[in-house]
């Protein structure tokens, strides 16, 4: 999830930078942007991210999955610096460090809310004969 997400966003950014700034009056430009190679690659990577994300949501809380994947921002900052040559200020690095700390807090706790029927981590009943 972390890898697909970070590489996908960076590919998208590279693509949109080569397309140039969009204007609201010419919003159809965004359709053409989808078919440029970098934006297309970004979309495929983010699709892979989405499948991993749905799988995680099936066995963990949304308030667990989202911060846990914030690890991706650290990777993205590194990618943005070396691949897109964006300037990451010390303040941005400090912000990224705080996000990482928040991730540490949430991953230390339980992944799923216990329900009235108990924590739902039992396998569903088998369909047909075993």
């Amino acid at each position: 999830m972390v890898l697909f997400g970070a590489f996908g966003d960076v590919a998208l950014s590279r693509g949109m930078k080569s397309v140039g700034a969009l204007s609201l009056s010419q919003w159809t430009q965004v359709i053409h942007a989808i078919f440029t190679p970098w934006v297309g690659a970004g979309i495929i990577l983010l699709l892979a991210f989405f499948i991993a994300y749905l799988s995680a949501l099936s066995f963990a809380d949304l308030t667990y999955v989202l911060p846990a994947t914030a690890v991706g921002y650290i990777l993205m900052a590194v990618l943005a610096k070396f691949f897109l040559h964006e300037n990451i200020s010390p303040w941005r690095w400090a912000g990224i460090a705080l996000i990482a700390l928040g991730v540490g807090f949430v991953t230390a706790g339980p992944a799923k809310t216990a329900t009235a029927r108990g924590v739902q981590d039992h396998p569903p009943p088998r369909v047909g004969s075993a």
């Binding site: 950014s13 749905l54 949501l57 809380d61 911060p67 200020s89 705080l98 996000i99 739902q120 569903p124």
Partner: protein, 127 residues
């Protein structure tokens, strides 16, 4: 309308749309149940059918698509290392509130603390 308005306006749109999308897809996956267990007991086809056959998932995906287009606009106006962490982390805080209200998730002290730390991180990243 300055570039600042465009950037933060589109970031706000990303936050609203993706929170709706995240909550709805999470609801759909909670209804489907653990895909790992589903896969082991019922096989791949039944798992895919259970997930894809849920209408709530597609409403969520529609919101995520709107969030994605808002993100494309934001990326064309500003740096990815500002737009992506700012929109997604603000989405995370909106999601903590929405998860507690709509999904009845137990957002305990550790999870709120994580939300505050990420919020502070966003403030610094956006400087």
């Amino acid at each position: 309308m300055t570039n600042w308005h465009y950037t933060w306006g589109s970031i706000l749109a990303v936050v609203v749309f993706s929170t709706a999308g995240d909550v709805l897809t999470s609801l759909a996956m909670k209804q489907s149940g653990d895909v790992g267990h589903l896969f082991h007991s019922n096989g791949l086809w039944a798992t895919v059918k259970a997930v894809v056959g849920n209408a709530t998932l597609w409403i969520g995906v529609a919101f995520m698509a709107m969030a994605f287009f808002a993100l494309l606009f934001a990326l064309s106006w500003s740096d990815v290392s500002l737009v992506a962490p700012a929109s997604a982390s603000l989405t995370f805080i909106a999601n903590a509130i929405a998860s507690k209200i709509f999904l009845r998730e137990q957002v305990d002290r550790q999870r709120w603390l994580a939300a505050i730390l990420v919020a502070a991180g966003v403030a610094l990243v956006a400087r």
